[in-house]
């Protein structure tokens, strides 16, 4: 009887120490899916209501910066009405930044670029897709992820040259006859966009 008791005790001791040595399977890597400081602050002040979610919990976390330059650039090209390209792996993109056309390759330095109306071209292997975009922003992250956000984008082959010429003439005329600053600014924008469209069609 006592032999069995000692056996039981020994088994219990081993199991408890073993469980402490085993790592908890619920340990998560550092990449929280919710802003914990917000949740805690909420719970302290308003304990009855569930804290609202924040955008972080709805987003897939981005990978960290790899130690070596990756071979492909991952592009997210979004518009208010659609995600044109989402996590597409490409070789290079050329974006129409306000300072001129900018080529982005994998391993590009992290940049926030403001875009002007112009042509965005996506190079994947041998194929090149060109879009004419209205202005927007482009974020290039250190982990070779590029986010391009534009308001409107049209594939270049869908643009009608006749309408472009007409629009350009119309806005140039408006610019010369503009009286107030607001009208001048609007006409200026129209002229810029249409000349960019023109060069997109020719270039």
């Amino acid at each position: 009887m006592f032999r069995r008791a000692t056996g039981l005790l020994a088994r219990r001791l081993i199991s408890s120490s073993g469980s402490r040595a085993r790592p908890y399977s619920t340990d998560l890597p550092a990449a929280p899916t919710a802003d914990s400081t917000f949740v805690e602050a909420w719970k302290k002040v308003i304990p009855n209501i569930e804290p609202p979610k924040t955008p972080l919990s709805f987003m897939k976390p981005r990978p960290a910066t790899p130690p070596s330059i990756p071979s492909k650039l991952t592009v997210n090209f979004v518009l208010p009405y659609a995600s044109e390209l989402s996590t597409k792996e490409v070789d290079m993109v050329i974006i129409p930044a306000a300072t001129g056309q900018m080529g982005v390759l994998p391993g590009h330095v992290a940049t926030i670029a403001e875009l002007k109306p112009g042509v965005l071209s996506v190079h994947e292997g041998n194929e090149v897709k060109k879009y004419f975009i209205s202005s927007g922003f482009a974020f290039i992250h250190a982990n070779s992820y590029a986010d391009i956000i534009a308001i409107e984008a049209v594939p270049v082959d869908q643009i009608d040259p006749g309408l472009v010429q007409k629009g350009l003439a119309e806005f140039t005329q408006k610019l010369s006859s503009a009286s107030t600053d607001l009208e001048k600014a609007e006409a200026q924008i129209g002229v810029e966009v249409h000349s960019a469209l023109n060069s997109a069609l020719t270039g």
Binding site: D35, T37, F38, A41, W42, V45, I46, I49, E50, P52, K53, T54, P55, L56, F58, M59, R62, N76, V78, L79, P80, Y81, A82, S83, S86, A97, A98, T99, M102, V109, A110, T111, I112, A113, E114, G136, F137, F139, H141, A142, Y145, D147, I149, I151
Partner: protein, 322 residues
């Protein structure tokens, strides 16, 4: 004296006890003035009227449910397409919901029309709780309200805190141009360090999650960048803009606000239609249940009146016989 009081009490209680012997449903349907006991045909008429009106209500709610379902289908596609819009901003600037700034502006997105379940109340509750959370010494919190329903609820106790209120958002189908003009309006007229947009995110047709998205002003971004965290990496980004860094950050902040607001308004519209669908569905089901109960009552009343008439006739006949 006591006997007289008891007699008076008895007289008062007597008329009360007899209606309770009849079924409870019938007494709830028929108020004492309309159907004095003994006029049985009128009580079936009343039940029949009630059944007709409940049936009409059921038809209306069923139609509203189908309308909401079709509107939901249309707008769900657009909302899901717009979900990619805010992700680059969160990837760049992180999610700063716990930021501590002096001037908070809570933008509450709600619907204009009612009969959409509890989503507007949840938005208002969340906004009020956020106001409590961000309150403190020399900190101020203001509201910008989009939509009639939240305005009606917030105006009751926070009238002086509402800076701007915008209604009739969905008169024309939602598009980015409209929202960007709205965002421009808000940014021009409201001073803020942090904008918190409260809306209901559309998870599925039956689940809507209250969500708060935070947009910081450029100055707040600079301050947070200095203190580190996700925004601390902002300095490592080169700025290509042809203008000064602060101008680019200003444009970025405005663009972020309009994009996040667009997505918020779309998701809320989706949630509104989904909530209306489930509200109207449960309403039609309730009306159906009510109709069943009324039909049973109607039949019981009808059969009871037929039986009483038969009894009268038969007892009259048997009384005549002998």
């Amino acid at each position: 004296m006591a006997m007289a009081a008891l007699r008076r009490e008895g007289r008062r209680l007597a008329p009360l006890s007899s209606p309770q012997s009849i079924t409870a449903v019938r007494s709830s349907l028929i108020s004492q003035e309309q159907a004095p006991l003994g006029l049985r045909s009128i009580s079936t008429q009343i039940v029949r009227n009630r059944m007709k009106s409940v049936k009409n209500i059921q038809k209306i709610t069923k139609a509203m449910k189908m309308v909401a379902a079709s509107k939901l289908r249309a707008i769900q596609v657009k909302a899901e397409n717009s979900r990619g819009l805010w992700q680059p901003f969160t990837a760049l600037l992180g999610d700063t919901a716990s930021v501590d700034v002096k001037k908070n502006v809570i933008v509450t997105v709600s619907s204009d029309k009612g009969l959409c379940g509890g989503i507007n109340s949840t938005s208002v509750k969340t906004s009020k709780a956020l106001k409590k959370l961000t309150a403190g010494p020399d900190k101020e919190t203001k509201y910008v309200v989009l939509g009639e329903k939240a305005k009606a609820q917030l105006i009751r106790d926070s009238k002086k805190d509402i800076e701007l209120s915008i209604t009739e958002l969905q008169k024309n189908p939602l598009n980015y141009t409209q929202v960007s003009v709205l965002a421009d309006d808000i940014l021009k007229n409201v001073e803020y360090d942090a904008l918190r947009i409260v809306f209901n995110k559309f998870q599925s047709v039956v689940s809507f999650l209250p969500t708060v998205a935070t947009v910081l002003s450029p100055e707040a971004v600079e301050k947070e960048a200095e203190s580190g965290g996700k925004l601390g990496e902002l300095d490592s980004y080169e700025i290509e803009g042809g203008e000064t860094k602060s101008e680019v950050l200003l444009n970025l902040g405005e663009f972020q606000f309009s994009c996040v607001l667009f997505n918020a308004v779309m998701e809320n519209a989706c949630s509104e239609q989904g909530a209306r669908m489930s509200a109207m569905d449960s309403s039609s089901r309730n009306a159906g249940d009510m109709l069943d109960r009324l039909t049973l009552t109607y039949n019981r009343t009808r059969q009871a009146s037929i039986t009483t008439e038969l009894i009268e006739i038969i007892s009259g006949a048997s009384a005549l016989e002998g």
